[in-house]
């Protein structure tokens, strides 16, 4: 067993897949390529992967369904959707079924490789970080970073991988002000200044899970013009 990171490439365009396989192997990853949704599911159930690159228009089982199935089995396996479908609706659906990133064709090789690297790095960081702190008590809620759940007195909430990573990052930096830009770079791996709404949307979701009154937050506070601050109290 080598310690190469394993990537499952699900792509039904032969020529694109051959090129991707060549490049990913050159970067030091071990690549398994399958060309339809059925085979992708077989691979997911029989082998371990560190990342999945997934096309959407696939024979037999669509990419959306493959992503959904992966999520029922493994909440933390990073999924990068690589597709020709560019509409906002498809993007949103992709994230909804559990994709971590969405890249449209035609794409730049450099960008794809960076995103793959970023996703793997994030996953590694998360895993290490979870080893140090598998759970965290915030008020009356217990956050389990391995099972991605929030347990309170009477209910149990399921987090998505992204929400968990964001929350982990805020908790690791608790007591410090974290800027939106930093969150975008560290959690989303995007170095753009425009998509700050994304962060805000996720914060709103986390507040809904954690705050007794989401409109008057006590744990995750906004710092005007800068970013967010998580306080345990």
């Amino acid at each position: 067993m080598t310690n190469k990171e394993r990537i499952l490439l699900v792509e039904d365009e032969d020529s694109l897949a051959i090129g991707l396989e060549f490049n990913l192997s050159a970067e030091g990853y071990s690549v398994t390529w399958v060309n339809d949704g059925k085979k992708a599911l077989q691979q997911i159930h029989s082998a371990h992967f560190d990342l999945v690159i997934l096309d959407l228009m696939l024979p037999y089982v669509s990419g959306f369904e493959v992503a959904g199935q992966i999520r029922t089995k493994d909440l933390q396996l990073p999924i990068l959707i690589l597709t020709a479908r560019t509409t906002l609706k498809d993007r949103l659906k992709g994230f909804e079924v559990g994709a971590d990133d969405y890249l449209t064709k035609p794409f730049h090789l450099e960008e794809l490789l960076l995103r793959v690297k970023g996703m793997l790095k994030r996953k590694k960081w998360y895993r290490q970080s979870v080893q140090n702190m598998p759970s965290f008590q915030l008020g009356d809620k217990k956050i389990n970073f391995e099972a991605l759940t929030i347990q309170s007195m009477n209910q149990k909430l399921q987090l998505t991988a992204f929400e968990a990573i964001l929350l982990k990052y805020l908790i690791d930096n608790r007591g410090k002000v974290v800027s939106r830009k930093e969150l975008l770079e560290k959690v989303w791996n995007i170095s753009s200044e425009i998509e700050t709404r994304t962060v805000d949307n996720f914060i709103v979701r986390l507040r809904k899970y954690l705050e007794p009154d989401p409109d008057n937050p006590v744990y995750i506070k906004s710092v005007r013009g800068i970013g967010y601050l998580l306080n345990e109290k």
Binding site: D12, S15, L16, G19, N23, M57, V61, R85, P106, F107
Partner: protein
């Protein structure tokens, strides 16, 4: 979008029904008003001067009014039917645009990937050769797609204008069909052991060679696309009295009874989870049908069931046996077109 579609149709139907109800209640009101007035008039008729009333003209007005209203309502129904048909085409057209975008972007992104790879890395020479041939294949695919969209517009101009190229000639059926099929098979690198070409058609026919090739290219392409494994193709030629027949059978996934009616429609694509392929524009079989019909022929499809393959049956007219006038017209147009292009050439 899939959620929106039925509701828009629902609103259209509702609107149509409401409009019709309004028409007919207006008509009813009108008749009621007319009849009561008429009866009133009848009652007072004796007392009035007889020259004031002329009943015959009024009845004519009633009848023509009703006829007009019925015509109006009929034309409204017609508009409704056409509107619906148009909406359906628009929906399929959106689908087509999405498919074409996908078909254009896939080879494009693959070419971009290889070029960027070669820019970024030192690629060993045999790998480079492989990449180059893959890129050429992608360019071929793009070219094919662009051509097929161009064919579409030339096929659309069904009214035989002189601008559309015509290249119809009289051929010996058996020779030309076999030739064209062989060419198509070669284009797809189709192994000979997977094809059986039987029967013969010793007659003459009028055919545009390049268009006939599009027919077989599409049929072979579909056979490959819609088979889980590499398909077996059986082509049988049968001469008839007035038409000769080509039976094209594959052992692919088959076509359900419901879909058999739809597959020749423009932009139509059958999305089934059993389908081993998701690529296409929804134009292939539409062209096949258009081309066959343009040749004066007919095409039909049958399938014994799921995974039992499908058979396309093409019937084309035998020269001098049927559709004589139409065939002669095609030949005449070819001569005209050739004269025209020769003149352009000389200039």
């Amino acid at each position: 979008m899939s959620l929106k579609r039925p509701s828009t149709l629902f609103y259209h139907v509702l609107l149509f029904i409401i409009a019709q109800v309004i028409w007919f209640s207006l008509l009813g009101l009108w008749i009621y008003w007319y009849v009561t007035n008429y009866l009133l008039l009848m009652k007072v008729e004796d007392k009035l001067a007889p020259q004031m009333i002329s009943g015959t003209i009024n009845i004519a007005a009633l009848v023509s009014g009703i006829v007009l209203l019925v015509l109006l309502s009929l034309s409204m129904s017609l508009i409704f039917i056409y509107l619906n048909r148009q909406l359906n085409v628009t929906r399929l057209y959106d689908n087509f645009i999405a498919n074409v975008t996908h078909e254009l972007k896939s080879p494009l992104s693959s070419i971009q990937l290889y070029l960027e790879t070669m820019q970024k890395r030192k690629v060993p020479s045999e790998k480079k050769q492989e990449f180059l041939s893959l890129m050429l294949k992608d360019i071929e695919r793009l070219n094919h797609l662009i051509n097929s969209i161009l064919y579409l517009s030339s096929l659309e101009q069904r009214k035989l204008t002189r601008k559309v190229s015509h290249d119809y000639h009289i051929f010996d059926t058996d020779t030309i069909i076999r030739e064209v099929i062989q060419e198509s098979l070669q284009e797809f690198n189709f192994p000979e052991k997977n094809v059986s070409l039987g029967g013969n058609a010793s007659c003459q026919c009028v055919i545009d060679r390049s268009w006939l090739k599009i027919v077989f290219n599409n049929l072979i392409d579909n056979a490959i696309k819609y088979s889980a494994q590499f398909p077996q193709i059986k082509i049988q030629l049968n001469p008839g009295k007035r038409y000769f027949y080509i039976d094209f059978t594959d052992n692919g996934i088959g076509i359900s009874q419901k879909d058999q009616k739809k597959i020749f429609n423009k932009f139509q694509r059958i999305n089934s989870p059993e389908s081993p392929n998701v690529k296409g524009t929804g134009l292939g079989l539409f062209w096949v049908r258009e081309i066959v019909e343009y040749h004066g022929g007919k095409i039909s499809v049958s399938s014994p069931g799921k995974n039992l393959g499908s058979t396309f049956k093409i019937a084309l007219p035998i020269y001098q046996e049927s559709k004589k006038r139409y065939m002669n017209r095609l030949l005449r147009l070819t001569r005209k077109y050739q004269a025209l292009s020769e003149r352009d050439h000389d200039q």
